[in-house]
Subunit: 331 residues, 2 copies
DNA sequence: GCACGGCGTGATAACGTTTACATTCCTCCC
DNA sequence: GGGAGGAATGTAAACGTTATCACGCCGTGC
């Protein structure tokens, strides 16, 4: 790999002149510029982002980190695409990591981010009071939280109106005549989850339905817990007639449990999920869901991150996007 | 961010000694070691991977690149997870990029890989004679091809027995009584695609069925082209009674076209796809597919890459994994 | 008593950039 | 003709590591 040194030698100028030609900025006389450009071409020069990053204070690495629970989850994959599209449009590359909802993995990758001197990081924090994320945010690293947010530290946030989404979903079930509505939720220390549960409770209250505590079950956002909790609900003396599941993977788990017991959807059990799936339309039955604009969440998060990199001092912003209830045939 | 300098100053030793303590290797007298370790803790020292990478020749960046067409494609997402799992197990981080089956994007990201001095790259080349990939491979950068391979340059490859998979799929359709079997393929310059087509042809030949050329349609691996080509086949004077689609996205497109025309699967049209989907079981109808061990493909690719990084000179290896025909209710 | 070996440690070059500052060389004007 | 001023270019430091070499010190053996 040719370096500035070699190019400079070939063009018979100093490395400073080569650097000037590369960064277009300063004035170089046309003759030397031409000579340098020839040398650059001849040697097929490629700048080293590593050297550049080491030299520069920060903010010009053209590299950002993205830490998500699992890239195989279509919701996060869509966010990732949103981030990537905006990053690519700005010549940024992406360091992508899966935390698996595991604090140790998250911590490892946050360390990598620091060690790689990335310009910033986009992530959904593990929960409300994610120490590792709070630390790195307070150390001055630009952070944008997506989907979930932190409670003590102010950062830029792009989130969805989860309360509204859940409220709409549950109201829809109530309008269909359901009164006993099961809630399958995730970890209760996650902001997203709490808002969705509040939406559930408020929708019941608005309809004058008294909540049954045993219809609420908390899992861990993963498919298996959706399956297990659905079975728990089905085993109640008086099981619910409808299910509201707060994320996509647990919804798939719930469907598996229902299919296994040969229950008909929506006749025996109506189901509304949170997060759309690319295949929701082709599912059996096509699934009613609260659709989140995940690509847009990712895109805006990256935009916010770029703005913060440019202007580190600016006050943190929260962008709140609206979800949409997509009614299909599972309700 | 504390540097070696600062740690050395605080421990009243030279940076060389601090470096020795960090790299455990050489002998340091216990007293100094303790002093240095205290300083490291006090200052919360984190090594800079950037500086380290600049200094070292290559092979110790603990960073590899992964360039895939689209992370939203579950097949590539599963490969990505396989790569990531093996990378994490070896303390490697992953630079992930989506090429969108677009040579310019691919080229941009390959440049980033060089510029970031990654230790190696895992990717499915755009096609057989992907110049950009051949260039970087010949420049000495460790490359492992997954899914697809190159024709001129020998690299490590992890692939699936595509011929066998396609042969099994089409033989299965024939066994179900079909003689007019449509083939929806992707770009014909991709090795994977050619092998699957060969499997299709060989299965027909083995059954003594004479192929009909107009039943073969080539697309670009994307959902939309699956939809369009299915419609073309349906509009033939004598349409096929079964469809073999060579990848997952085009299969979803094909299903959409069939559903739109209210055709019953498998009665009006049987369908076999390539690549399993996490939701294939819950689809309407549950889809018969050739399942590829994508996670394993990714994992082994990363292992191969690590071995090559350790031993750059070793002759290129090809790992071939077996696919599996999963028979569900679409046939 | 002195040379020698070996161990612990320090000084320093190098990796490839960017950039502040120094230098050279014109041009122009008094 | 000589100095000022400015444009073009060069020099060198700095970023944070790793690795090579040199140095000083102590114990050992003759």
């Amino acid at each position: 790999m040719a370096s500035l040194q070699e190019v400079a030698a070939r063009a018979k100028v100093s490395i400073a002149t080569v650097s000037r030609v590369l960064n277009k900025s300063e004035k170089v006389v046309p003759a030397t510029r031409a000579a340098v450009e020839k040398a650059l071409r001849d040697l097929d020069y490629r700048p080293s982002r590593v050297a550049r990053r080491l030299r520069m204070n920060s903010g010009r690495a053209n590299l950002v980190g993205l830490i998500i629970p699992d890239i195989q989850n279509p919701f996060f994959a869509e966010i990732a695409r949103g981030v990537e599209d905006a990053a690519y449009a700005n010549q940024y590359a992406l360091l992508l990591c899966n935390s698996d909802e595991n604090l140790d993995k998250e911590r490892f990758y946050l360390d990598v981010m620091r060690a790689e001197s990335v310009d910033g990081v986009v992530l959904p924090p593990f929960d409300d009071r994610d120490d590792a994320v709070m630390d790195i945010a307070q150390s001055g690293m630009p952070i944008v939280c997506v989907d979930r947010s932190l409670v003590r530290v102010k950062t830029d946030v792009v989130e969805v109106d989860n309360h509204q989404g859940a409220f709409d979903a549950v109201s829809h079930l109530i309008a269909r005549g359901h009164e006993h509505i099961g809630l399958i939720e995730g970890r209760t220390t996650v902001s997203t989850n709490r808002e969705r549960r509040r939406g559930y409770a408020d929708a019941l209250a608005a309809a004058g339905i008294s909540p049954r505590k045993e219809l609420i079950r908390a899992g861990d956002f993963k498919q298996e817990s959706g399956r297990v909790l659905t079975n728990e609900l089905l085993d109640l003396r008086k099981p619910p007639t409808a299910l509201f599941v707060v994320n996509n993977l647990m919804t798939v788990g719930a469907l598996a449990a229902l299919h296994q017991r040969k229950l008909r959807i929506p006749q025996d059990m109506a189901v509304v999920g949170f997060d759309d799936l690319p295949w929701a339309e082709a599912l059996d039955p096509p699934l009613t869901v609260v659709r989140q604009p995940a690509h847009e969440v990712g895109r805006q998060a990256m935009e916010l991150l770029l703005k913060r990199i440019m202007e580190p001092g600016r006050p943190p912003l929260t962008v709140r996007l609206q979800p949409e209830l997509v009614i299909r045939r599972s309700t």
